[in-house]
């Protein structure tokens, strides 16, 4: 099981969760942060610090947001398990679904 970052993070990337994660498993993509499903230890430290409530436990995702489980996992398809975000650079790519997502400025701001 793992925690998952979902749509509210896109174009926001507050990074409070990155500082909070005890195992350094939250990686930065171009437009969104991603949790490495194999490195996440399910501790839940990230979830309450997210200012936009973008982080969910895998089981708690709604039917509409289920896709983010695969979006987080697939982001790491070509990088494997780097073993810590501190040593990894900010990626210049995103999962295709995120890359093609409408930019926040053109969307309604969520409250």
């Amino acid at each position: 099981m793992t925690y998952v970052i979902a749509e509210p993070c896109i174009d926001l990337k507050d990074r409070a969760c990155v500082d909070e994660c005890p195992v350094d498993c939250i990686y930065e993509g171009k437009r969104m942060l991603y949790i490495h499903p194999d490195e996440c230890v399910d501790c839940g430290a990230c979830e309450p610090v997210c200012p936009v409530e973008a982080i969910f436990y895998e089981d708690d995702l709604s039917d509409e947001t289920q896709a983010y489980i695969a979006i987080n996992a697939d982001f790491f398809a070509h990088v494997g398990s780097p073993g810590g975000a501190a040593n990894a650079n900010v990626s210049d790519h995103d999962h295709p679904f995120v890359a093609e997502h409408p930019h926040r400025s053109s969307r309604e701001v969520r409250v």
Partner: protein, 375 residues
């Protein structure tokens, strides 16, 4: 009184007598995950250790029903609930004693103790050192967060002097234990130290500990995010201590010169760290600049040295106050006869030699030794 030479059972690995899974059966971490909801605080280092153990146990290739985790009391001691193996949440400080009984009675079980700095070193201090000197075939995982977490933040036997906690509002007066020094002093045959968040190192140490026949003692630095947050930030290079990791960790690898600090592969030190351990004129171990000495002078780590003195001296380099320096890795790994192997051999030898009916033997026992007939 006299002593006799005991027969020594041949060298074995830690898991040699334990049934393996059937051929073709592949276990995964999920096979070792129980249906219990994990209840530690968010961010607790215990999650990371649990995940690493669940990921590592399949590598052992042992039957789940032949694995036992025994814990005492404390946050760490909730561990057995979350593993789909046999387990026992036992008596405060007494897990090593209960595990001694299990390991001695059942050679076909892989026995693990999960304990913390409070459980193992306060109330259980006695039980821990005696398990270590007996060298019972089991692995003891001591989660050291340097605080009492379950009781909400009182100082523990590994808390630093001057620490302000709920039970020491004007600072702790107690000199802390260094768990590795303690284990080496008790002549434990396998002593290691690792870190909750370094899964690769943790897994490698667990693997070596399980393979070792005898008591394997593993101290795991474990962050308590609620009552002692940041205690290991220097070791992890996190928080206010970003970038300090290279100088905070002294990595121990058997057969390699012990150096730490910045490693420049292309530089004149050939990938060695810019700090090194050497033996001083007085016989102690001290830290020097690598550039100031010859490469031959650097202490080479020998975990297999029968004499624990050098390992002990290395363990003393651990910072006693805020943990900004600590040797990490396997300090000691030596072969020594195990209590349980010898006890089983003694019992079966003695049983093979008896003759006569049970009643005659009981009468002979009652009349044996220091008995008198009072007129």
């Amino acid at each position: 009184m006299s002593t006799i030479d005991l027969p020594l059972p041949g060298a074995r690995t830690g898991t040699e007598l334990i049934p393996a899974v059937d051929e073709g059966v592949t276990q995964t971490g999920k096979d070792f995950t129980s249906d219990q909801e994990v209840r530690w605080c968010p961010g607790c280092g215990d999650y990371a250790v649990l995940k690493a153990v669940q990921g590592f146990l399949p590598d052992l290739g042992l039957r789940r029903e032949n694995i036992v985790f025994v814990s005492g009391i404390g946050c760490s001691s909730r561990f057995p609930y979350y593993l789909d193996t046999y387990g026992m949440h036992s008596i405060h400080g007494r897990a090593p004693s209960i595990a001694t009984g299990i390991a001695t009675a059942r050679e076909d079980l892989s026995v693990w103790v999960v304990t913390g700095d409070g459980d193992a070193l306060s109330i259980g201090g006695n039980h821990l050192i005696h398990a270590l000197r007996r060298n019972v075939n089991m692995t003891i995982l001591l989660f050291n967060n340097r605080i009492y977490g379950l009781t909400k933040g009182q100082y523990s036997p590994t808390s630093e002097v001057g620490k302000v906690t709920k039970s020491t509002p004007v600072g702790s007066l107690d000199h802390p234990f260094n768990p590795v020094s303690l284990a080496l002093g008790a002549e434990a045959s396998f002593v290691a130290r690792t870190i909750d968040s370094d899964r690769k190192h943790l897994t490698a140490v667990l693997s070596a500990a399980a393979a070792h026949r005898g008591t394997s003692f593993v101290e795991i630095y474990q962050n308590c995010p609620i009552f002692n947050d940041g205690a290991f930030d220097a070791i992890k290079g996190m928080g206010d201590h970003k970038g300090e990791k290279d100088y905070a960790i002294i990595p121990l690898n058997h057969g390699e010169p012990i150096t730490f600090g910045v490693r420049d592969e292309a530089g004149p030190l050939n990938g060695l760290g810019d700090k090194a351990l050497v033996r001083s004129a007085s016989g102690n171990i001290e830290v020097v600049d690598t550039a100031d000495i010859s490469t031959e002078a650097i202490l080479v780590h020998d975990a297999h040295d029968p004499d624990p003195s050098t390992a002990f001296a290395i363990s003393r380099l651990t910072a006693a106050d805020y943990l900004n320096r600590s040797p990490i890795g396997i300090f000691r790994q030596v072969e020594r006869p195990t209590y349980d192997d010898q006890a089983r051999a003694q019992v079966s030898d003695a049983a093979a030699k008896v003759s006569g009916s049970a009643e005659d033997r009981l009468t002979a026992l009652i009349n044996a030794g220091d008995t008198w007939t009072i007129d």
